[in-house]
Each structure stands twice: as C-alpha cells, then as structure tokens.
C-alpha cells in the first residue's frame, strides 16, 4: 500500500516537472522584447531568438526526460546489475554534453561575435548626430554642440547644481551656442547617433531598451555609444546601474523625429529666450 | 609497535601542518598579488609620480635579510644539536624581526616628517598600504617565532625532530615574508 501511494506520488512529481517544462516554454514564448528600434539591435535580437529557441527546446526536453526517468524509475523494482560500463558512460556523457554545448556555444559565438565587433569597431559616420550626456544623481543632463558644431569646454570644478549643472566654461566661445536639456534627447531619423557619456558622481548606466543600447558610465571615463535608429517615435531611457535612492526613476525620453522636425527643434532651442527683466 | 603508530601519526600531522602552511602562503600570495595588480594598473595613470622613499627602507631591508640568515643559521645549528647556538639564532631572528618593524615605523615617521601622508598621492597611498599589510604579516610571523622560542626554551629536552619540524615551518614563513618584501620594494621603486 505504501508502495502504491509512493508510486502515485512519484508520478505526480514527474508530472510536475513535465508541466513546468512545457508550461515554461509556453509562458516564455508569449513574452516579447521591447519593440526593436535600431539597426545593430537586429543582431542582438537574432542572438536572443536563437538562444530562446535552442534553450527552450533543451529545457523542455530536459525536464520531460527527468519526468520520464522518475515516472519509470518509481515503477521499477530492484535492479540486479550495473547498467552501463565505464566506456558507455564516457561515450554518452561526452557525446550529449559536447553536442549540447556546441549547439549552444557554437551558435552563440557564430552569431554573437560579428554583432559585438560591428557594435564596437564601427567608426561613426560623418553625419552622425553627436550628443553628450552627463549623468548625475538623479537625472540626465543632455548637451548638443549647437550651430557651430563644437562642444564648449567643461570642467567638473565649475559644476553647480543650480546655475551650471554641466560645468560649462563660460569663457569658451564654442560653448555659447551649446544646447542643454534635461532628461530629453531628440535626434533625426535616417542618421546615426553618437552619444558621449559621462557621469559626475556615481556609476550610472545608460539604457535604451528599444534600441538595445546599454553602457555603464563610470565616473572618470567617457564611453561612447554609436547606433542607428530605424524608426521614429518617443522612447524611454532608464538607468541600469544602482546609483542611489532615486535610481528607479531616472527617466528620460529619447525622441526620434523626422529631419524637418529635428531642424525646427534645433532652431527653437537656439533661439535665445525672451529677455529677463 | 605503538611507537611506530605514534610516529606514523606524527609524520602525518607534520605533513598536514606543512600543507596548511603552504596553502596559507598561497592565500597570502594572492592577497599581495591583488594589491600589486591594483598598483600596476594605477601606475599607468597620467597623474602617477613616485614619491621619494624614506632612507630607512634600505636599512630595514638589510635587517630583514640578516634576520632570515640568523634564523637559517640557528636552525642549522639545532639540527646538529648545538642548542646554545640554535637558540641564539632563533633569538637573533626575533630581535632583528622586531627591529625591522620598528624600522618600518621609523620610515613612516620619516615620510610624515616630509609631509607625505596616506592620502597625499596615489604612490604614497600604495606605499603605506603595502608596507602596512606586509608589516601586519611580519607581526603575525613574529608571534609564531616567539611561540616557537617559548616552546624551545621551555622545560624538558628539545627533541631534534620536533625542533627541525618547528624550524622548517617558521623558516618557510619567515623567508616567504622576506620574499614578499623584496617584491614590494621592487614595485615601489621601479614602477
């Protein structure tokens, strides 16, 4: 009787693994990445799709195999002899192990390396829009070079939270027409984007989920990110490196607009504000 | 028969203590390797300038070398049952070791007299850090040597094989720390 109950229970446990294996794949297949909006992102998505499919299959097969072994094993009486010889063991483990690893790894390397190289080795096209981002607790300072195409000098000792968040050197003429915004980046479609990232306090990480762009900004370093947006729209920016209390709401907007709208926006930004009394 | 069993247990014990020591030395090596790699990485920065190291360092190095030599001589004498000389060697190593630590503190005071403190420059930070870490380990080793001296000068005859066992371990640790010091010195002066 005890043996009966334990067989039933073992069968239920086996069923659990099978259900989790299949259910997991079903759930996973209904989850989507944020809508793709960049060129190099297609390579990353291809990698992720490859992995989702191969690991999904391996996962389901593995869990079902486990379920099967438990199901049949619970019904098997004592085994009388050693099943597999040492040689068989080596062959089985070796073959399956290496096959699985190669499919997974081989695919990863084959698909992944070119994407990585392309992303990092790419030289920025001449017409790329260059934007500087200075991250701080807890917002993104954004700067454009303005009509003269030159960024003005900055230094950290000039930084003042109220009057000069970017630490602009006011004596530098190149900086007079720089456009400065907060938590908002606007770029035209059809051109590459080149972001120069800096941080003035903690490590932040610039994340554009739809563009498959993520770069840690370590203070003291100036990493650059180059990518090519493929559709217009307004996309959110987030911080993905713990930087303090309001890390969870360092929200900004990355707007990809038509070239005309971009020119208009630039002009609006450059027009000096009405004179203060 | 039982003496044989005892001897077998003792030699196994000796083996495991020796293994313990070598693994511990591996751990300490990794610690200084971590400090050293931090040093080397930092030294490639554009603002890296080496401070003038205090004169006391040279003297301290000689003292530490002398201490190792003295310990070696003492151990050698002990193996040949020349106990008085052996104890002199052990005592000498201890005294010189303490002299080294005192000398290191003197070196620190010399630097501070020149206005160079822990946070003064990257090189000075590493100087205090590396010499401090090394000094702490020397302090620990001195405690071990001191304990060995107490055991050796305690009541009862010192058996040769106990002596050589204790000395083997102490010597290994002591010379190891001399080696670490030479590497630290090399880093501080050359990179």
């Amino acid at each position: 009787m005890a043996k009966q109950t334990s067989v039933i229970h073992a069968s239920i446990v086996a069923a659990l693994f099978a259900v989790l294996g299949i259910g997991g794949v079903v759930y996973g297949s209904r989850v989507a990445l944020p809508g793709l909006a960049s060129r190099h992102g297609a390579g990353i998505d291809a990698m992720l799709d490859y992995l989702l499919i191969t690991t999904g299959v391996l996962f389901a097969v593995g869990y079902c195999a486990l379920a099967y072994f438990i199901w049949t094993g619970a019904r098997r009486g004592r085994i009388g002899q050693r099943l597999a010889s040492r040689r068989t063991e080596l062959w089985v483990s070796g073959t399956i192990g290496i096959a699985v690893a190669l499919v997974a790894e081989g695919g990863v390397l084959a698909i992944g390396m070119p994407v990585w190289s392309e992303y990092f080795d790419a030289t920025p096209p001449a017409d790329a829009v260059t934007v500087e981002v200075l991250a701080q607790q807890f917002l993104w300072n954004v700067r454009y070079a303005g009509p003269d195409g030159q960024f003005g000098r900055t230094s950290s000792d000039r930084i003042d939270d109220v009057s000069n968040p970017m630490g602009m050197d006011r004596t530098d003429p190149a900086g007079r027409d720089d456009i400065i915004t907060q938590n908002a980046i606007t770029v035209p479609s059809g051109r590459a984007v080149r972001l120069r990232l800096r941080s003035r306090d903690m490590i932040h990480s610039f994340f554009l989920p739809h563009f498959r762009v993520k770069q840690d900004i370590v203070p003291g370093m100036t990493p650059e990110v180059i990518f090519f947006p493929t559709r217009e729209g307004s996309f959110e920016m987030a911080c993905t490196e713990l930087c303090g209390l309001a890390h969870y709401r360092m929200r900004g907007f990355f707007d990809v607009v038509s070239p005309e709208a971009y020119e208009k926006w630039l002009t609006d930004q450059s027009t000096p504000p009405p004179a203060r009394r | 028969m039982h003496i044989a069993l005892q001897r077998e247990r003792e030699s196994r014990r000796e083996e495991s203590v020796r293994l313990l020591l070598w693994m511990f030395l591996a751990t300490i090596t990794m610690l200084f390797a971590a400090f050293s790699s931090a040093y080397i990485v930092r030294s490639s920065g554009s603002d890296w300038t080496r401070i003038d190291l205090p004169d006391a360092l040279l003297g301290n190095t000689i003292v530490l070398c002398a201490s190792s030599i003295t310990l070696e001589l003492g151990s050698w004498c002990g193996a040949r049952r020349r106990w008085n000389l052996a104890l002199c060697g052990l005592g000498g190593a201890l005294v010189l070791g303490i002299g080294f630590l005192v000398g290191q503190l003197q070196a620190w005071r010399q630097l501070q007299g020149a206005g160079i403190f822990l946070p003064s420059s990257p090189h000075s930070s590493f100087f205090y850090l590396l010499t401090g870490a090394h000094g702490v380990h020397v302090g620990g080793a001195l405690a071990v040597l001191g304990y060995a001296s107490l055991v050796a000068t305690g009541p009862g005859r010192v058996e040769a094989r106990h002596w050589s066992r204790a000395m083997a371990l102490s010597r290994t640790f002591w010379h190891f720390l001399l080696g670490v010091w030479l590497v630290v010195l090399l880093l501080l002066t050359q990179y």
Binding site: S6, L66, V92 | E15, D47, P122
Partner: protein, 599 residues
C-alpha cells in the same frame, strides 16, 4: 598499554577531554572541537541567518508586488523603514543589499560549505576529526562575530549598507551618496573581513584534512563526489577571497582616510565637490568579481556534490560517470578563476577583453553540461525511491539545468548587453546560487538529519515542504528571466515610473504571491526540524541503505566517529546494484572477497 598510548596520542590531538572526563556543557556544545558539533553549529547559525534573509526577501517582494499598497503593521515593526506605511527607498536599498549579503555568505556559505563540509568530510573519508580541530572551532566563532557585526549594521546611523551586495564605489565609498554609505558600509566591510578570516581557516582545514586524514584504502578516486566538491571549493575559496580582502581594505581607506584607490577625480555629490584624485571604480569591480565569480562556484560545487551522493541512494545504482564528473568539477573550478569579466561586459572594459571573457565563459559550459548530463543519466534506468531527499535532489538537477541554460545568455557579451543589470540576471543567479543550493541544502538536511540527530524527519511534512518550496521557487525565478527580457532593471524600488514596464506589473504580483507561498512554506521545515529532534522516529545506523562511510557508524556517531579500531576502505563510494548479504549494496568497507568490486 594500548589504552595509554591512545590517550597520549589523543592528547596530542586535543581531544583528551573525552577520555579523561566528561567535558562540561560549554566545552562540549559551545566551544567544541568536534567537527560534528561545529558543523551543526554552522548549520543552525546559517538557518537563523536564513530567517533574517527570508524576511528581507518578503519585504522586497511586498514592495514590488503591490507598490501602491500601504503597510501600517510594517510601520510599527520598522518605524524608520516604513514611513506612514510606505517603504522608504533608503530602506529598500538596504534590504536588497543585506538580503544578498546575508543569503550568500551567512546562509549558503555557512550551511552548505562550512556546515555540511565540516560535518561530512571527516566522516566520509573515514577520519576521526578534521586535521586541526582547534582551528575549526576558531573559524566558527570568528564567523559568528562576523554574523553579529552584519546584523548590527542595521542599527548604525544611516542604516545598513545600501550599495548592493557588490558594493560598487563610488556609491559605497562616498558617505553622502546614499544613507547606507555612512556607517553601515564600514560595518559591512569589517564584518566581511571577519567572514573571510573564518572562511580561510575553514577552507585550510578541509584541504588539509582531505590530504592527510583519509582512512587506509581511501584513495582520492574512492572519495565520494561530495568530498571532491568540498575539496575543490575550498581551494577555490582560498585563492579567490584575498582579492576581496585587498579590495575591502582599500575601500575602507578610501572611505575614512581620504585615499583615492577607487574614487576618481572631480566628483560632485550632494552639491559638494570631492577632493579625490584619480582612482578607478573599475578596479573595485575587477577585484570584487575576481572573488565573486569563483565564490558562486564555491557555493554550487558542494550543492552538486551533495545531490550526486543523495541520488544513488534513491536510484539504487551508481552515479553515472563518476570519474568524468570529478574531472568536470576540477575543470569548472580552474576555469572559474579566469572568467570574472563576464560581470563587466558593459562596464567600459575594452571590447577585446570582452571577447576573451565571452569565449572563456562559454568554455565553462562544456564541463558543466557534461556534469549535468551525468546527473540526469544517474536517474536513467534506476529503481527510484522518491523519498524527501530525492525530491530535493531532483529539484537540484532541474534548477541546475534551467539556470545553467540561462547562463548562456549572460555569458556572451552580445546578449548580455541587453540583459545585464536586468531581472534576467536576478532570475539566473537566484536559480543557481539560490535554487540549486537551497534544494541541495534541504536535500542534505533531510538526508543527513538521521545521522546528525539520531532521528528521522517526518516524511509527510517533508513532502509538503518540497511542494511548497520547489514549485513557487521555479515560478518566481523562471518568470524573472522573462521580466529581464522585457527590460525590467535590477535594484528598482518600483517599476511604476516607466511605460515600457507597465506590462510587468501583473507578473510582479504573481511572483510576489508565489514568494509569500515559498516563504510561509518554510514554516513546515522549521516545525519538522524542531519537532523531530524530540519526537522523530529513532533512526537506524543506515536508514537510506547508503554506501558511504558515515552510514557505517551509529546515528549519531560517537565522538571519534568510528570507534577505536582503524577502518579500511576496499571499494569506491557507489557500490549499488550488487547482491550482498545486506541487500543490493555494499558499503565502502566491505572487502573484495565478500562482494565483487565494480569500480
């Protein structure tokens, strides 16, 4: 005559108390030198710390599952952490940091590595105790100081450390960056220093013991996989922890003496211009992960080893591919020391370095996969007795498989770019060092409880505990992988600020609900553990009909483990499926003449 010699030699080994007179309570149970007592001390301490860690987990999930809800009761219990029933971001970050730190170091490392390691290694190699019983006791008490310090950090000014268990500077280095970086971070660093000292003592002891205390006939290739895993894990820990020691010393100096090892020039924090010179935050990351990556293998190797010992007892056949599995463990251990950069792909490291770390990390997949295949194949064709330890061992295998597959995404730089610092990572590491280890911990506890305490745990409660543990655990952390795919970042106090995360709301509520089931299910274990100590069915020497040496002595074993006569080992640790006078197995002492040796 023999007795006197035994006494003399025993005195040399520091266990004179037993033969001379009965030791007092303090010497027997508090400052004991006996590896079994120390092992149990570690386990109990670890379980107590797990209660703290689990409470912190509950607070995290309450916040993330129901971010709009108000908790007046929690305001009463944690007045500084919950203001008017709402969790403060300060408290959230401290809770997240301490949850990670406590679970990794003070639960998993204590129970799995130090607890089971100290208890099992001497028994399984046929030794009377560890090589250095005094060091063993010292390691436990130094470790206890470490645990007390860590708990105390909640009560210092500014609260506990809040820069994540990874403590990246400048966040962890500058006091004004986050409240936990005032004093909590310093207490954290000092506590970790004590922890590392304790772990070093423990690790040294295990390595020395495996080398020199093995019984006659117990060659390295006859040791159970459990002992191999502790041996390799200890060596790993000894070589890897010093990097964190070095980093911790430098961080303390940066925090309190004005040095700039990690703090770069020109920082402006809370309106203040800092006067540091050119340090590098990346240096901390390299040093931390040089420890951090091997550390996860220090945790998972013993978990896998334990599962590999439990499984054969319940399939009645040897573990599949024993020698190959040992080589896999050695390969994984060695490789784990050269792949730490995969935690830093987007950190600003050179992309060439990133390529190297991708390839290196993917090579670890090979021995891990082979090991996993061996574990799965160990069930193939077996006669399975699905008792509670076996249920958890199957859970180990299942989570190792799914967690390991997730590692493929993170180990290559390309996919990692999108997934790093998202919930994909959280799901992955929880499955591996939260799941594989947790299931192995429970499996081991149910399996070795009879040996430790002389009583059996209740099977029905254990079964219910398994269901309430494995199922919600899988749901929670499997789903978190997909939260990461949807872009949900880590260490977020709430996901409510972003439109692109709106769809994750329901999933977070499901996860939190499952978490409440998981945490409350542990009550069954606690009740079972305590109740069985007094009322559990008395255990035989070998209730599971297992072959390893600990089952050849009484439950619990005598002080010197195997009695005064030295034992001799004649076969490997997995002689199952052979006819013998006791059944279908032969323990390691049985000579060749009585039962044929199959390996």
């Amino acid at each position: 005559m023999a007795q006197t010699t035994e006494q003399t030699t025993d005195m040399r080994h520091g266990s004179d108390a037993e033969h001379a007179h009965e030791p007092g309570f303090i010497r027997k149970y508090v400052f004991s030198f006996d590896h079994k007592v120390i092992g149990i001390q570690y386990i109990i301490t670890g379980l107590l710390m797990a209660l703290v860690g689990a409470t912190l987990a509950m607070l995290i999930r309450l916040q993330l599952g129901w971010p709009d809800r108000v908790w007046p009761l929690l305001s009463q219990i944690f007045p500084k952490g919950y203001v008017s029933g709402v969790m403060t971001p300060e408290f959230y970050l401290a809770v997240v940091t301490m949850h990670g730190t406590i679970m990794v170091f003070f639960f998993m490392s204590y129970v799995l590595v130090s607890g089971f390691g100290n208890y099992l290694v001497p028994l399984q190699i046929g030794a009377r105790d560890m090589a250095f019983p005094f060091l063993n006791m010292l390691s436990f008490w130094v470790g206890s100081i470490s645990a007390l310090l860590m708990i105390s950090s909640f009560f210092v000014e500014g609260g506990a450390a809040a820069a994540g268990w990874t403590a990246y500077p400048p966040l962890s280095a500058v006091a004004s960056a986050v409240p936990g970086s005032r004093n909590g971070q310093t207490v954290w660093l000092v506590s970790m220093a004590f922890f590392i000292a304790s772990f070093t003592l423990s690790g040294l002891n295990i390595v020395a013991t495996v080398f020199s205390e093995r019984a006659r006939g117990m060659s390295m290739w006859r040791m159970p996989l459990t002992v191999w895993s502790y041996f390799i894990a200890s060596i790993l820990g000894l070589l890897a922890f010093p990097a964190l020691t070095a980093a911790a010393v430098m961080l303390i100096l940066d925090r309190h003496t004005g040095t700039s090892f990690f703090i770069p020039i020109g920082l402006v924090v809370a309106g203040q211009h800092l006067s540091h010179t050119g340090g590098s935050p990346l240096l901390w990351q390299h040093l931390f992960w040089f420890l951090g990556h091997p550390e996860v293998y220090v945790l998972i190797l013993p978990a896998l080893g334990i599962a590999c010992d439990v499984i054969p007892a319940f399939t009645r056949k040897p573990v599949f591919g024993y020698k190959l599995s040992v080589w896999c463990l050695i390969a994984v251990g060695a490789l784990s020391m050269v792949v730490w950069g995969h935690h830093m792909f987007v950190s600003g490291m050179s992309p060439f370095t990133g390529e190297y770390f991708s390839v290196a990390t993917l090579t670890i997949t090979l021995p891990m996969t082979v090991f996993g295949v061996n574990m799965l194949a160990s069930l193939w064709g077996g006669s399975i007795r699905l008792r509670v330890p076996m249920m958890f061992a199957c859970a180990v295998l299942a989570l190792f498989g799914s967690g390991g597959l997730g590692g493929l995404y993170l180990g290559n730089a390309t996919a990692d770019m999108q997934l790093t610092d998202t919930y994909f990572v959280v799901g992955h590491f929880h499955m591996m060092i939260g799941g594989v280890t947790l299931m192995a911990t429970f499996g081991g506890l149910y399996y070795w409880y009879p040996k430790m305490f002389g009583r059996m745990m209740n099977e029905k409660l254990g079964t219910a505990h398994f269901w309430l543990t494995f199922t919600p655990f899988f749901v929670i952390f499997f789903m978190q992988h997909f939260l990461g795919i949807q872009g949900a970042p880590r260490r977020y106090y709430a996901f409510t600020a972003y439109d692109f995360l709106r769809e994750t709301r329901l999933q977070n509520t499901i996860i939190s609900s499952a978490a409440m089931v998981l945490i409350s299910g542990q009550l069954l274990f606690l009740i079972n553990f305590i109740w069985s100590l007094f009322k559990g069915r008395k255990a035989a020497d070998n209730p599971w009909e297992a072959t390893t040496l600990e089952w050849t002595t009484s439950s619990p074993p005598p002080h010197d483990n195997f009695g005064p006569h030295p034992l001799t080992v004649h076969r490997w640790a997995y002689e199952y499926g052979v006819p013998s006078d006791v059944g279908d197995y032969a323990d390691q002492r049985v000579p060749k003449e009585r039962v044929a040796v199959t390996a």
